[in-house]
């Protein structure tokens, strides 16, 4: 049986990915993280197709951490597809990005993002943010039950 993915991190910049993973490690939230580097691959993974056609829909990630600027399909595009398909719609998606431009924030919320976080420049603050969001989404929050992913 494949291991359940707790956090799917979609981030193309290796330095950013390393810092995020490091912050998760420091917060002891690193158990099952999957790191993918572009929007198209993230969608293949989530929709169990292409290189991921053997995956099953019944083990969705507990949480998706999504960057806004991504190669091929950007974060907004990925978000749009996740939130417009009942098989993936209930997965909590957090945009973790450099931009807090109003139009990005507004577009993300219109598409149904669960949370929008601007990465602080200061790493100590960033570590706090990652810890808080991990605690909240993985421990405090009740995860969507299987029925939340059904069509009816």
């Amino acid at each position: 049986m494949p291991e359940a993915i707790e956090i799917l991190l979609v981030e193309d910049n290796p330095a950013d990915a390393e810092l995020t993973i490091h912050a998760l490690e420091k917060s002891k939230l690193i158990n099952h993280i999957r790191h993918l580097q572009d929007g198209a691959e993230a969608l293949d993974f989530l929709f169990c197709r292409g290189a991921y056609s053997t995956r099953k829909f019944d083990a969705p990630p507990r949480l998706i951490l999504l960057d806004l600027k991504l190669p091929k399909i950007d974060g907004i595009g990925v978000l749009e597809q996740i939130k417009s398909d009942t098989r993936t719609k209930a997965i909590p998606v957090i945009l973790l990005t450099s931009s807090k431009e109003e139009r990005d924030v507004a577009r993300s919320y219109k598409l149904g993002v669960n949370s929008y976080i601007q990465k602080p420049v200061n790493f100590t603050e960033f570590q706090d943010v990652v810890k808080q969001l991990g605690m909240y989404w993985l421990l405090v929050n009740s995860k969507p039950p299987a029925s939340a992913f059904s069509v009816s």
Partner: protein, 250 residues
Amino acid sequence: MELARSNADLAAANQELEAFSYSVSHDLRAPLRHIDGFARILKEEHATQLSEEAQRYLDRVLHGANHMGHLVDDLLNLAKIGRRDLARQRTKLDLLVREALADLPGTENRSVEWRVEPLPEVDCDPGLLKLVFNNLLGNALKFTRSRQPAVIEIGTLDTSGVTTIFVRDNGVGFDPKYADKLFGVFQRLHRQEDFEGTGVGLATVQRIVRKHGGEVWAESEVDRGATFFFSLGARPATAPVPQALEVSRA
């Protein structure tokens, strides 16, 4: 024809500025985060392998990244003010000052005497005008750091119907020779070592006041305090010196 074309040019220039500041906000922050992040990991998790000198250099790196972070944020705010339309409404300046005072950093271990006169109600964009007070009061507090007590006054002069607000302190002041440089972006009249800052604050103040059709100016002498004035209409022909000036110098 001509007008239509210059309007189109203006729209294009605005769009370019927007794209530029968007790119600044997103793309400049990322490498800064990396510099700060990895330097901090080195400092905090590999300290035992670093000499004291190496740790001091790392502090310099972290300090530089932090400062640039502030510069980016301030510049971005300045650009945003430029492209924002004024949302004027009848505003009690007293309220804005009270809010701005609440935003100031703590003054524990300092003795600060605030003298706030009642201020008028004016037509202005309250969000932007609060930024003006944030900057002017923040500066007054910063440049009176060495004073016991620091005395900061906020008041109003009414000359020929134009409301002029002033913020006066008894701080270190500045050389009037450089008064014209005060409001330039990145212009600083004090050494970073003595007073921290990005040199964007007063440029922001000037941009906001001018958007309101007003003017901002300042008077000072080295070591004898500074007074910043702003009007929300035209500047009075002769800038009046308020009577209370001597009091704050005592």
